[in-house]
Every structure is written in C-alpha cells, then in structure tokens.
C-alpha cells in the first residue's frame, strides 16, 4: 500500500529553538497516527506544519491526493494548497472558537465548507448539513442556533461535522478532547472511532492524553524537545516502551490510575 502522507526530514525552528528536528514518518490510508509528548515538545508545531498553517524550514511533505497525484506540499501553488485544506483535508482545532464561526448558525458553519467548493443550492446544502449533524449526534433542531449556545462537547462535534461535510481523506486534530469532562470525552472518542472506521479516514491526532491514543491511534509517535524519540504500534509503544522518556510517560499514567 502506498502512503497517503510522507513526512521526510521535516524541521522547523523558532529562532534558535528547534521546535521540530528531523521528523520522518509515513501515514497510510485509514490509519490513525497519535502524536504524544509533554507540552512544549513540538507536537502542535508539527501538526501545524503539516496541516499547513505554518511554513516549514527544511524537509518535505508528500501527499497523494484522491486522483493519485503525488504532491509536494511545500512546492504546491497556493491556490491548490488552500483548496486542498478546504476539501481533502480538515483541521479540528483544540479550541472550537478557532475552527468555527461563532457569529453564524451551526448550519451556516457546515454550509461554508460546501459553499467554498461551489455548491450553490440552498436546499441541498441544508440537507447535507442536517445529515452531518446527525452523524455527529447533534439534534437537528439545533441547526439554526449559534455555536456559542452549544456545550463544549457539542462545539467540538460541530467542528467535526463542518470538516466532514466535504468528505476529507485526512484530518488533523489538535487535542480534540481537551477541556471536556471525562464522560463527554468518552462519547466523543467513541464517535471519532466509529467515524474513522466507517468513513475510512486517516487522522493525525495530537494529544498529551495517553488514554485517548490508546483508544484511537493505530500507531504512536512520541516527541520530546522537538525530536521524535520513539514510534511504532500503539500497543507496542505503550506496553513495551524503549526510550527512557516514553517509559516515564507511560509509568506516570499508570501511577495516576
């Protein structure tokens, strides 16, 4: 199987600080990749570099699109790049306020992604928005309400619906369960797991919560000080950590439990 995304020696510095240093990995279709590490380890920077909000210093990001064309993201002309982020890619922000328009209704938030790809039929857009609200388990009666009237978990699910409406192949998630209480987290994770399986999505998931990756991620990538210190199958990494930092990380969770 050909990788969907190939990250090759990616580096990003902020002045003297190496936020991401020589990162390599492949992401295959249908795969969920978890990136864990302590805060400041460069995991969010890495996600933003790939998810294209940030410019990278060196290295390559190679993406194979739905037409089987191999695209070098760094060299891709901006119009195509922006189109990619609005169609085949989706970014779920840690704070829903960054990923949603808070001053327009939930329906309009979902509609915007469709309007961006040129759909101009109001009725069809409504139907589509309704369908995706159902998929993320939001009552369709809430479609014409503003996102700020939603609970944190609902906002996060709305963000997901907004991204899913263009049928993306690759989703980036930055701490999707951050700031949610445990029962809401569990429901969201459950939902994510079934959506990922049913829609055959590939996901890059950044989190500091080992529980989240154990549930969702197929493969795991552990970061510390901008370096990738360990990677492998999630169960392997968590049950048999090789790197001292990973061992520390895993054992700290066990003690908490």
């Amino acid at each position: 199987m050909k990788p969907l995304l190939n990250i090759n020696r990616l580096s990003k510095t902020y002045g003297k600080l190496k936020a991401c240093n020589n990162i390599n990995f492949n992401l295959y279709p249908g795969q969920v990749l978890g990136i864990v590490g302590e805060s400041g380890s460069g995991k969010s920077t890495l996600l933003n570099c790939i998810g294209s909000n940030l410019e990278i210093d060196t290295g390559e990001i190679i993406y194979t699109n739905s037409k089987n064309e191999i695209l070098n993201i760094k060299q891709l002309p901006e119009p195509q790049h922006r189109k990619l982020t609005k169609t085949e890619w989706g970014f779920v922000q840690q704070n829903p306020r960054d990923g949603l328009r808070m001053n327009v209704t939930a329906g309009a938030n979902i509609a915007e992604r469709l309007l961006n790809v040129g759909v101009r039929h109001y009725g069809n857009i409504r139907e589509e928005a309704k369908y995706w609200l159902e998929q993320v388990e939001i009552d369709t009666n809430r479609m014409d309400d503003f996102p700020h009237t939603f609970s944190g978990g609902m906002q996060q699910r709305l963000q997901l619906a907004r991204v899913l409406v263009t049928k993306p192949r690759l989703i980036f998630m930055d701490e999707p369960t951050g700031g949610l209480d445990v029962s809401v987290q569990a429901r969201l994770l459950d939902l994510l797991r079934s959506l990922v399986r049913n829609l055959h999505l590939s996901v890059i998931l950044v989190t500091h919560d080992i529980g989240v990756v154990r549930l969702l991620a197929h493969r795991l990538l552990v970061m510390k000080n901008g370096q990738m210190v360990e990677s492998g199958l999630t169960d392997r990494v968590l049950d048999d950590p090789q790197h001292p930092y990973t061992q520390q990380l895993v054992s700290s969770v066990l003690i908490n439990n």
């Binding site: 119009p79 309009a108 509609a111 309007l115 857009i125 014409d144």
Partner: protein, 298 residues
Amino acid sequence: MTKTELNSNSSNSSTEPGFNFAYLDEQTKRSIRRAILKAVAIPGHQIPFSSREMPMSYGWGTGGIQVTASVIGKEDTLKVIDQGADDTTNAVNIRRFFKKVCGVNTTEKTSEATLIQTRHRIPETPLKEGQTIVYQVPMPEPLFVIEPSRTEAAKMHALEEYGSMYVKLYEDITNYGYIATAYDYPVIVNDRYLMKPSPIPRFDNPKMNNNPALQLFGAGREKRIYAVPPYTKVKSLDFEDYPFSVENWDNKACEFCGSTDSYLDEVVIDNEGTRMWICSDTDYCNGQLIVNSLNCMS
C-alpha cells in the same frame, strides 16, 4: 501649475477666485485618474489611491467628490443626487461646490447630465453611452463582514475564494425565508471580482448590469477606487433555488406621479403615523408628472 494657467482656469465669471479648476491640484487629479484607469482596466477590483482631505467630513462623499473632481471637464454638465433626490442638503451643497470651483453647468435632469455623482441610488431614467456615474462609497471591501484582515481579504480576491460570502445569504434565508439584504447587495463583476455596489437598494442592482454608462466608485476614508466599465456583466449573488429578486411594494404607486415601477420611499406625514409612498428619484417623478399632464391634455 503656472499662474497664467490658473487664471485661464478661473476665467469663468461664476467661479470662486483662488481655487484651481475642480478644487484639487493638477498632480492630485492626475494621480486619481491613474487609479481610475487601473480600476476601469480591472472591473470590480479595488485600487488604492492617495485620498486627500476635502472641505467636508468623511462619510459625506469625500471619495465621490474626489473622483468627480478628477474627471470633470469644462464642457461637463453635472447632476448630484442624494438618495435619488436633487434637492437634499448633500446634493445641493456638492452641486454648488462644483459650480463654485469649476463653473460648469449643472442640471437636475438625468438625461441632460454628462456626469452624475450619486449617493445610494441609480437614477430611474436609463443611463446612456457617454455618461459617467460616480458613486460615494462608505465601505468598499465586501469581504469585510466575514474576513476582518485586509491581507487575507486581498488573497481571497486574488484566488477568487468567494464561497464564504454566501454564508450571509444562507443566514438570511434561514432566518427570514428569503434573502433579506436590502442594500449594498454584493455582486460579481465581469464573472471575476466580488464588489460592493455602495449602499444602493438591491432594486438598483440589475441596472448596473450591461449599463452603457461608465460607473466609478470612490471611497475617501478607505482610500479605494473601483469601476465598472460600460457594457460589463454585473451579477448579484444568489442561490440556485433562491434566485435574486428586487423589492416590490404590493402594487403601491407613487402618490405624486402614480408610477408603479420606480423605487418608492415611505414618508411619515403626521403625528398619527399616516404615511405616503413617493418616488425616491425626484427628477423621474417630475418627469412622470409632466408626461401625465400632457396625456390629460391630449
């Protein structure tokens, strides 16, 4: 500008001495004309220009007045309207201003004017080839409501990313059942640029399409000029299942001239809240009155 030229410009007896023709100095007018030429070359695209202080406050038409001052010539006949009326404060004063500093002929008749400066209306009488209409624009950037950053908005214009603009229309239909945006209704010019037509009622939007006159837009405070050349396609945004439509007044007619196809203003006439509906375009209304009286006589 040499002294002799200045004198020759001010030769007309009705002009105020001490001012250059059309108030602005020649270099300024030239720079604004350059911006206008660019604007005409790229229909609907906003061109920055070095907007000057004018002897009136921002919001009263400083953009329009600078565009008018830059294109006006001695042979021009100027008409100025404010919400369709020739006799309101803004219109009267701008007209008097140009009479003072240019000595040009002014008129209230749309058909006689070569240059029309307007605030918030397009005359009912169809414009013709050779005429120029200058709009006063408060806020030129249509994407401002959805994208506060100018840099990002410029990028969206460059890449023709106008999908988000439809969010506003979507919200209108969701809340009111129809597109309720009544003025400054966004349009696509020449199948390319998204443009704000200045706060004209959406009733006037169809008049912009394929208009034989040259349409110039000046925003003084925001320092932008844009244009729609003659015979250019101007399409109002809409949805396939909610096509663009103009206002109607349930068969109400103007109570002065009886017109049913012009834009009507609602006027409260007493303390009891009685109201009447009259043409917003005073020149058109007067014209209809004359036509009616001729019909009565014949």
